[in-house]
């Protein structure tokens, strides 16, 4: 029980604290409201229950780092339960209500509170030990950081960690004091009772003071912490669930068009969408996104974490003026750098891994849109590619009429889908059509389709680049131009479904074009091959006895979750599949996406080279590095040479393996370790 002066003091402090906190929260709401668009209540109602369940089960957090996630779970469950604990403790302070030595439901409550207190203390100690001892924050030297960030991250972590330790620790110790005062252990609070045993020697007066002090440290501390709360990363405990709940259920592979009214992309914070500003408040600075980022992993200037943290620290320092409507400085001065913007591969790993539902990649694409539209200097190779794309519909600087030249070498004609109806319209893609290294694969795919009796055709010179990477480079106008051209071409053809070679075309046709009026099923060629093998339309006459690993393309495995089909093909051929640690939706980027294939990455080790080493580490006996994307074929054929593993590991398209098994083609050197049966 508190004394009357204590009660009055608490109430006055609570009032002041709440008013200050409310002011901070209102500023944050206004700051987020400066972004474009508004959250949808429909989305909220649809998602609030399932997503809340996900969060209660801690599923977004357990996606990676199991041990750290366990520590977090301890703190999280304690926090949820402490909502009740704090209310009951307030009652105890004000009118003496106590569950000490109670029985029934109250004793169950005591037990849960007692155990969760220890879980939270251990969890928090573990997290602090990790942050300050074992795995401190590290960014590549090239990463742009606001001056306040470097020190700020540690300070904020220390304050939040310290608050939780002190708050929970005092409550726990307070219970021990009360148990000691009662003179006998309360077995519904086992850990507090153990602590109480240590306090046994203290006299009644000391214990009475300790009881008051611990109460104030547990509950009074909340009042002191609350006004800081909106400026701390701890606010993630409201903003992260909100971010997850309010996120619309649309594919990651479908980008929003620019906001309109003449603005293309975003140069400043207020030119982003509302949820991109919310991202900064949801971020808990765990750095998981940076761990999986291929750009950061190869020493480049991009850290998705730094982007969000910079945004947050800019807002923290300028919340009053920003919420009040003042124009903010360019994001390239407060959040990230040009070098970072241009090193994103749009692999989507940061978005997939983020436990609080952030999408830093979208900010980078909006910045690219702005830079391209504003005429900022772009990589000369990228410029050449874009100019070629707008003129010829391909990035190779070749006449559109040469697109289907590879088909001339086939012993059978490939149907022209513009002239006769076909079941499958094969959207071949730029690399598969024009790159001389890839044309053999393309012919093989055509031969397999032909062998299986598939009714297919192509668009010949009317197929243009799908624009997937053009859109991600930020050249929205060119993307629109390519889409218009392709939709017109597709409109001239009659077909039931589309099949693509390139996962990037697949993503564009499936997710972007469908939002712009295309309504047909889209398949990746690996899906078709799997089905043709299983239906017996393709019959392997030889079995491949070798160990293979398979690289999931980002736009197939992560973006569109097509991970089973290529594996079904590999296994159907008799190959033993050994997975790399990063596979399926957690695949690692080859470094070519988001237009990087047209840019100069600048001499560091490439993600593709790291990936080859990852495959090599699987064992001496892994013979094939199987790919299902023409760009992967290009990237890894290079990487296997530059890393010097050319004679150990063969990079090969899954279609080539099928064609060998069905007797269509001969593999020369590649076939060496494979025995026929």
């Amino acid at each position: 029980m508190l004394t009357t002066p204590e009660r009055i003091a608490f109430l006055l402090l609570a009032l002041a604290s709440l008013l200050l906190t409310l002011r901070g929260v209102r500023l944050i709401v206004r700051a987020i409201g400066r972004g474009y668009g508004r959250p949808s209540w429909g989305v909220f109602l649809r998602r609030v229950i399932p997503v809340s369940l996900d969060i209660l089960l801690q599923r977004p957090i357990f996606r990676t780092r199991p041990l750290v996630s366990l520590l977090h779970a301890g703190v999280f469950f304690a926090f949820v339960f402490y909502g009740l604990v704090n209310v009951l403790d307030l009652l105890e302070g004000f009118n003496g209500y106590s569950t000490l030595h109670a029985s029934g439901v109250a004793s169950a409550y005591n037990l849960v509170a007692d155990l969760l207190s220890v879980a939270a203390l251990l969890g928090m100690l573990g997290l602090l030990l990790r942050r300050f001892g074992l795995r401190p924050f590290r960014f590549n030297r090239a990463v742009f950081l606001l001056p306040s960030v470097r020190f700020g991250i540690s300070r904020d972590s220390a304050i939040v960690g310290g608050f939780i330790l002190l708050h929970v620790g005092s409550r726990w110790a307070g219970q021990a004091v009360r148990i000691a005062e009662s003179g006998r252990p309360d077995w519904s609070q086992p850990t507090a009772s153990l602590l109480a045993a240590l306090l046994g020697g203290l006299d009644a007066a000391t214990l009475a003071v300790a009881s008051h002090v611990t109460w104030w440290l547990a509950l009074g501390l909340i009042l002191a912490f609350l006004p800081y709360f909106p400026y701390s990363k701890h606010i993630h405990l409201f903003m992260a669930p909100l971010n997850l709940i309010l996120r619309e259920e649309k594919p990651l592979g479908r980008l929003e068009p620019p906001v309109g009214n003449g603005q293309v992309g975003a140069a400043r914070l207020e030119e982003l969408r509302w949820y991109q500003i919310l991202d900064a408040y949801a971020c808990i600075m765990c750095n998981r996104c940076q761990d999986v980022c291929p750009a950061h992993g190869t020493g480049r200037a991009l850290s998705p974490a730094a982007l969000e943290i910079n945004k947050r620290y800019y807002l923290n320092r300028n919340l009053n003026s920003f919420a009040g409507g003042t124009a903010s400085p360019p994001l390239l001065e407060t959040a990230t750098s040009r070098a970072a913007v241009w090193s994103c591969t749009t692999c989507g790993a940061c978005v997939r891994i983020c436990p609080v539902g952030n999408r830093p990649m979208l900010d980078l694409i909006d910045l690219r849109r702005h830079l391209v539209f504003a005429g900022d200097e772009i990589d000369p190779n990228l410029q050449t590619a874009l100019e070629s794309l707008s003129r010829y519909g391909n990035s190779f600087g070749k006449s559109a009429r040469q697109r289907a030249r590879w088909a001339k070498d086939l012993p059978f004609p490939v149907k022209d889908a513009r002239k006769e109806p076909v079941e499958y319209l094969w959207f071949v893609g730029d690399f598969a059509s024009f790159d001389p290294r890839m044309q053999e694969n393309t012919k093989t795919v055509a031969q397999l389709f032909h062998q299986a009796g598939l009714d297919f055709g192509i668009l010949y010179e009317d197929e243009w680049n799908s624009g997937n990477d053009v859109r991600r480079v930020g050249e929205e106008g060119l993307f629109e131009l390519l889409v218009e051209h392709n939709l017109a071409a597709l409109g001239k053809a009659r077909f039931r479904a589309i099949v693509t070679t390139d996962p990037h075309s697949y993503n564009a046709l499936r997710n972007e074009y469908s939002a712009l009026g295309l309504d047909v099923p889209v398949y990746h060629y690996t899906e078709l091959l799997a089905e043709l093998l299983e239906r017996g339309q393709l019959q392997p006459s030889k079995r491949l006895q070798a160990v293979a690993t398979y690289h999931d393309p980002c736009y197939l495995g992560r973006y569109n979750r097509i991970t089973a089909a290529p594996r079904r093909v590999i296994r159907a051929l008799g190959l033993e599949l050994r997975e790399m640690p990063r596979h399926g939706e957690n695949t690692y980027c080859c470094g070519a996406g988001g237009g990087q294939i047209w840019m100069d990455s600048g001499g560091q080790e490439r993600p593709s080279e790291q990936r080859i080493r990852e495959a090599i580490a699987l064992g001496e006996d892994v013979r094939y590095f199987v790919v299902a994307c023409p760009k992967d074929m290009a990237m890894y054929s290079d990487a296997v040479k530059t890393t010097g593993y050319e004679h150990r590991l063969t990079v090969i398209d899954v279609a080539r393996l099928v064609a060998w098994a069905t007797g269509l083609i001969e593999l020369e050197r590649e076939a060496a370790p494979v025995s026929q049966s």
Binding site: G375, P380, E387, E475, G477
Partner: protein
């Protein structure tokens, strides 16, 4: 004050060129056009000058292809202020450089620019006659092979390239006519959205001109290049290839 840039469209050699049955022209149906690459550099150099001095850039062209608008809108999207198109009864014909200069000179005189910039040469003007001819018709100083410019009071300082990488700095009284070999920077990228914006929001000024009386030599026949020699790809094992190389060298008396 203004800077005039002359843009000319030429056949895109990425596409296969075919000769028309008449034998004296390309098959126009299969030709597509691009802006002469050196003219792109002339425009870029003008835009760089504009950024330094604030001059207006006017792009001028004679529409012999019926497709010049695209080139002019692109120039407007890149940052030119005005676009002037000369139209007349010559669509579908090739104008000689002299005829072209004759059509352009009065229009340019009327624009009274500080500087006229054009590409140093073009696929149909390999001698680089446009700048000198224009200079002569306008009676303005001129020079070619320019790789850098700087405007000063009443003069333009230009850097031009001589043989063997020797650079020459010149000063010409303005107005002057320059044949640009290369701009100081790579011609900039123009986003498609900007071109579409220019097509919506800008207008191209049209000037009717008389068809010039040709005094140039008459074209009698166009010929496709003949294959001079054939490359042979050597395949097989390294020793096979080496053997074959030796054979070839011996056959030619080189070994």
């Amino acid at each position: 004050m203004t800077l005039a840039v002359i843009l000319k469209q030429v056949p895109d050699v990425v596409e296969e060129l075919a000769i028309a049955p008449s034998g004296t022209d390309l098959d126009r149906d299969s030709v597509s056009y691009v802006v002469n690459e050196f003219d792109e550099h002339a425009l870029e150099e003008a835009l760089l000058l504009r950024e330094a001095t604030g001059e207006d850039v006017v792009v001028v062209g004679v529409d012999t292809t019926g497709e010049l608008d695209q080139a002019l809108y692109t120039a407007l999207a890149k940052g030119a202020q005005r676009a002037v198109k000369l139209v007349g009864d010559f669509e579908g014909s090739w104008l000689s450089t002299r005829a072209l200069a004759g059509l352009l000179a009065p229009v340019i005189r009327e624009l009274s620019p500080r500087l006229v910039l054009t590409g140093v040469q073009a696929p149909d003007d390999l001698d680089g006659q446009l700048a000198p001819t224009l200079g002569a018709l306008l009676d303005w100083p001129h020079t070619g092979v320019v790789v850098g410019t700087e405007l000063a009071d009443g003069v333009v300082r230009v850097r031009k390239e001589l043989w063997g990488g020797i650079m020459l700095d010149l000063e010409l009284a303005t107005p002057a006519v320059l044949g640009i070999q290369a701009a100081r920077a790579t011609p900039r990228y123009v986003p498609v959205g900007r071109v579409r914006q220019a097509m919506r929001e800008s207008t191209i000024e049209e000037v009717e001109v008389e068809t010039p009386v040709e005094s140039a030599p008459k074209l009698s026949r166009l010929r496709a290049p003949e294959a001079a020699g054939r490359a042979e790809m050597l395949t097989g094992s390294p020793s096979d290839v080496a053997e074959r190389i030796l054979e070839i060298l011996r056959a030619r008396g080189l070994y």
